[in-house]
Symmetry: D3
């Protein structure tokens, strides 16, 4: 396949991310709400800011890998839409994981798929930054929606899964600061 077609095909394949809503917001009355593309943009932004602060702390991070993973981490949802998290638990989880891997392979180029797979593995520091950014973006968005009176989002703050720090102390501190700024007590240590 010519490089031109490879580029156009991948962009067209991911285009639905800009029409598909983040289901979790809809379920709580935010309508219209953020799309998956907007979320992915936000995750890349948070990840970039985390990289900058980690470097200030002396950490060595491969920034390109972080940003690539952030951009494609929800790529399979261009085919399935955003399926809310509670669903993904239980015996179903590995079946969905396999499907998403296959869909990611279909919609992404070779290089982009490698980024997706690294993000899924969630092992490298870079992948963990993306995983943390995924939740940090969500909770910052929740606080913005609350401030703008859109929807009923209390349960977001009660769900410990929404505060995943992936072993990155900076991420933990952002969650804590966010709780304080939204008028909620910082969570007890796990």
């Amino acid at each position: 396949m010519a490089p031109e077609d490879r580029i156009i095909d991948a962009v067209v394949a991911l285009d639905p991310l800009a029409d598909l809503p983040r289901t979790g917001w809809l379920l709580r009355g935010v309508r219209p709400c953020e799309t998956i593309a907007e979320h992915s943009f936000g995750v890349a932004l948070v990840a970039m800011l985390l990289v900058d602060e980690l470097r200030r702390e002396g950490e060595t991070v491969d920034g390109e890998r972080v940003l690539r993973m952030a951009l494609v981490h929800d790529a399979p949802e261009a085919r399935t839409g955003d399926v809310p998290m509670p669903v993904k638990g239980g015996a179903l989880e590995s079946a969905i994981h396999d499907l998403e891997l296959e869909l990611a392979r279909q919609v992404l180029t070779t290089e982009a798929f490698a980024s997706y797979a690294e993000a899924e593995a969630a092992e490298s520091l870079e992948a963990r930054i993306v995983k943390a950014a995924d939740k940090l973006q969500m909770m910052i968005k929740a606080s913005v929606y609350e401030q703008k009176k859109r929807g009923a989002l209390d349960e977001f703050w009660a769900n410990p899964k929404n505060f995943r720090d992936m072993g990155i102390p900076l991420a933990r501190r952002v969650y804590e600061r966010l709780r304080v700024r939204s008028g909620r007590a910082a969570p007890a240590p796990p």
Copy 2:
């Protein structure tokens, strides 16, 4: 639980169906598009009309069972959103089926869940009417969207799975009529 709470809880549990889009339309550029509640209303309507015509043909049908099944056939989607069909194929299918059964049990009353389970089994004439109505409603909606220039829906007409008649000749004839009215040739016999 008091009957009052049973009623309110079930209605509230299914309320998200009125905020969740039918993902297939979004993927093809219809925006805004039909919600799952609007689809369920349409399926019940088509099913009612099928019952009336089948009775004219001399068939005996339990109309109440048909309408109950139509109303709750997508109940689990109040928790997961509408996951487009291509996803449901392969090894994943039975895992999703199990999950949906469990979610249906959570959101529905005992009687309503019985209707859901009968629809899923897809064996009784009544259940087959609902399954056919599910696709008939979708294809009539596709023709309405096309007539109103909303989205690009050609592929809907090319997918044989969208013309499931469940062994009901009347359903088959509606599909054929619909193809003619939308300016497409009737499909070859299977």
Copy 3:
């Protein structure tokens, strides 16, 4: 007319119910808001649940008739849109009633029109269940919108017309439970 056309024509004629908003919500700042099709789905759901509970209480109810009426009770609005209730009072009421009857005849099949007419008469137990479900669905929806901070709906709770029980004690008890759950005192007996 062939049965196929009869089915397609009726579904197409009622299709606008999925694009037309329930005006009362718009007037109070819920935007986007429920469509007439979503409301009709909800009324059918509430009616089904009422039937189940009435049967548990020993009542004999024709469930099919109830569900048919619920599905078509707003059929004429496919031509006029939802006209808010205050308008329908006074000398205008019978003129609008006549028009709606005529529009229902135009958009519905013979059997479906019979259901519409029975619902309008509001005499049979089945028709009264549908009339009660019409308001019960509205008040449950109002409580859901309130919980999700969509719009300003206080006046809904102050309007006695929104608590019509049609002589069905179960309906009365659902209203009362709903008031309590929404943090409002139960209304004084009439």
Copy 4:
């Protein structure tokens, strides 16, 4: 009542015009579509342009009266929403006319109501300009929607009621020009 309250009350009473859709567009698949406030703005604009051209032709017109009528000509719809025209025919027409007059009185100040009443009478040149502008705006909007591929609007061009010129030759010439520009033949003379 203090002048301040009179102003605020009237603006608040007409505020729903900015949330209520023009039903006719929705019925033909334009979604989202123009609101009544946007329509009223457009009618005032067309009316102003008609006044300017009529003056160039040597006509004497009271421009203020024209613009006042244009602004309030749909005021009662702030309470009822836009009820599509086909409905307003027949025996119902005078009943609705009476209701609208009463609603206009409720939502408008004394001076604004006088403008509404003059527009309804449709006798003065100024009122006829507004009535013509009402339809001219609609047909220009239809041509814009068509050019932007929003909805299916053919029937608008086939309905003679949409080309009401109120005895104003200039209005007639604008309709004819619009037909030509939209690729349709000019209508035969009446």
Copy 5:
């Protein structure tokens, strides 16, 4: 150019005002929000009501000029969209002013442009009424949005620029009344 084309061209040129949002509302979480056309309608309405009250007070006002200015005061935004006010400060202000003047000339007829230019000069009593109405409409809309729980608009009430009275005591009194009605203290005298 023929009068017919002059009319159609101007209406088409201003048509985007009905699709373009008032950016300030979006920035504060009102979504969907008022369009520029809806705002312009509201400004004309407020201006009309101000004229009526000023006349009651014995003032002589040219009502036609007021309404014409109100209708076209945001005409250039049909090309640029609504650019929020903070941006327009500083050295940029006169450059934007020049551009808007040029765009207004492009989209408006000769007579309509004269109204635009008079409004921009903001010197005549009539022009000052329109400038005051521009802000009065905005603050009345803010109070309506607040009452309907749409968005977070506190900062609107804190910004003195939003209470511009253009030397018209009546305008000042409306602002004060509005503050009281929205539960805020009247501002201190400047």
Copy 6:
């Protein structure tokens, strides 16, 4: 300022990008349309794919810098909204450029602002990739909207400014391929 606040503040400051529409689509009838955040996501995606293909061609590219610039290249629009291009020509251009630089400084962290400034300078290969991706994303989106019948976008294909390749032959080839795939002749060489 603590790192936590620095991250949260920047994300909140850019949050409006997810509510602000790309004005150019609205002006041509795409409604709802892409937001600035969705566009920025798309630009980053295109830029990433360009980097991969350029590397295959043997080019050395700093991928991190490319992706950072793509993410923040429209950051000032979080304060102003998207102002359509035609406006930015003429004497106004440098004034707007200065304003955007100042706004970027306000909303971004030090490191992110450096990326913004590099993108604006448009000199490095990395910055030119982002500039090309900015237009490539737009034209791919135009072709997707056309395929889905959303809006009237012919003029996008006629405007040479929309085919800026920034001296990157690969970008040129993607534009040409896109023209062919959308059924348009490739443009004549400049």
